[in-house]
Amino acid sequence: MIGVWRRHQALISGVTSFAIILAAWQLAVDFGLVKAFFVSSPALVTTQFIKQLHSGEVLTNLSVSLYEFAWGLGLAVVVGGACGIFASWSRTFEAVLEPFIWFKYSSPTIAFYPIFVAWLGLGEPTIIAISFIFAITPVYANTLSGIKNADPDLIRAARSFGARRHDLFLKVALPGSVPILVAGLRLAVGRALTGVVAAELFGATAGLGFAISFYGQKLKTNEMMVSLMLVVILGIIFNQLLSLLESATDSWRTGPGRAE
């Protein structure tokens, strides 16, 4: 029994705490501590969920949001990764990009939402663009940092065997930067999802963010909660997936020398 606990500690405690929260939520509503109008309840949300599932609404919203998310993230990874790699090769390129990265970092991207709408119209392209911009920073930053911070000892050893610049890049810097890249990817996934939801709140005709906004404005808490819960669950799923990816790619981390 203890063995089971030890091995799956995280999973068990995770599930338990969620169960407790759900139970507390339901009880709070049942006992009148909070009004269902404001917070809904697990029971009501479940009913609504089944209803929306049957009507196809869940599927539509999910697929629209996921489609935009995939595009936003995909573009961010490709463009951010390429720029990061290029910037690690060329100091000039890095310096050219730097002020814009800084600006992007400290300004609220959403403020430029009206401009995107003006260019790309209300709907998917704008949402994908916002998601792309949200997600690109960690990808670029981590790619650049991972490659630049390659272990200097390894670089020196490779050079002693006559490695040329592209050897150093392909065989030492790039493989060595995988953990940082994955960490960046993890952040990017979260940001891309946030970007999609936030942009959908403002202007969309379908999608999870749209549903949240739509029902929210009509004060239909139960319906709104379905989409909200879906967003949270998506976030958890993605995070866990990336956690797994992180451990899979990290298995070779060199710790202090083990005893003989």
Binding site: T194, G216, N239
Partner: protein, 270 residues
């Protein structure tokens, strides 16, 4: 004994040498200037539609107008207070919470899963429900700022506590330190850099939250102005407000970063 250093006569660095040393800075500045120039020129030449993008000169002119006539300071004050109150509340709650969670393994085991779920979930999705609960006034924005800022601070504080050097704690114990002593004299100073980093991240999120919140639904504030001007296609004024937020956010995070670096420099390389 042989001379260890041979000092060559100091020369006044040439322009080329100066550029070399500050190469990155020079290139970055040129890059910004080129961008601004291209922006202005392509709008003037009609290559791009200035209605959608405005121009640097128009933005500059609009800035003057705004600062003089537009109730700018009123809106700025609204946003600043929403941000300030929300952030202060976040600090008060999250630092102690983070410290407690960092030290108590059993509590952390149960609190961490929902915490991480909230950290990674897009909190902006809660905007509509916050509006339902708290109305369209300042309260809902304070709430979203609070939610935006607490999680980075808590998560980073926990990480900071867990990184505490066990050797220092051991040494303190050897001198008879009580649990409270260890807490106040070693743990808290020790995880200060991590807390500051959490604060820095929290600032970014908090600012974003207040602007998004105001853009979504509000009666006043910088985000409200941005949305109004956006819908009215007055891009030049929109950009002025956007830049104001950027500069504010940049200065604030820079200030915190400097504090962070200063404190980090005390610590030996671990």
């Amino acid at each position: 004994m042989a001379v260890t250093t041979q000092i060559e006569p100091r020369q006044v660095p040439s322009l080329g040498a100066l550029i070399n040393r500050h190469y990155s800075l020079v290139v970055s500045t040129i890059s910004v200037l080129v961008f601004l120039a291209l922006w202005q020129i392509s709008a003037d030449q009609g290559w791009i539609n200035a209605r959608y993008t405005s121009t640097p000169s128009a933005v500059a002119r609009a800035a003057l107008v705004i600062f003089r006539t537009d109730n700018f300071f009123y809106h700025a004050w609204v946003s600043l207070s929403e941000f300030g109150i929300g952030f202060a509340l976040a600090l008060v709650v999250s630092v102690p919470l983070g410290l407690v969670l960092g030290t108590s393994r059993s509590i952390r085991l149960f609190v961490e899963p929902p915490l991480m779920a909230m950290y990674t979930a897009p909190r902006l999705a809660l905007l509509p429900i916050l509006i339902v609960w708290l109305g369209i006034g300042m309260a809902s924005k304070v709430a979203i700022v609070f939610l935006g800022a607490i999680f980075p601070i808590i998560v980073n504080t926990i990480a900071g506590v867990r990184d505490a050097d066990p050797r220092l704690i051991q040494a303190a114990r050897a001198f008879g330190a009580t649990r409270l002593d260890i807490f106040t004299k070693i743990l808290i100073p020790g995880c200060l850099p991590a807390i500051l980093m959490g604060i820095r991240l929290g600032i970014g999120r908090g600012l974003l939250s207040v602007i998004v919140g105001e853009m979504f639904v509000s009666e006043a504030g910088i985000g409200y102005q941005i949305m109004t001007y956006g819908q009215g296609m007055q891009i030049d004024k929109l950009l002025v407000y956007a830049f104001v937020v950027s500069i504010f956010g940049y200065s604030l995070t820079l200030a915190v970063k400097l504090m962070e670096d200063h404190i980090r420099s005390w610590r030996p390389a671990s």
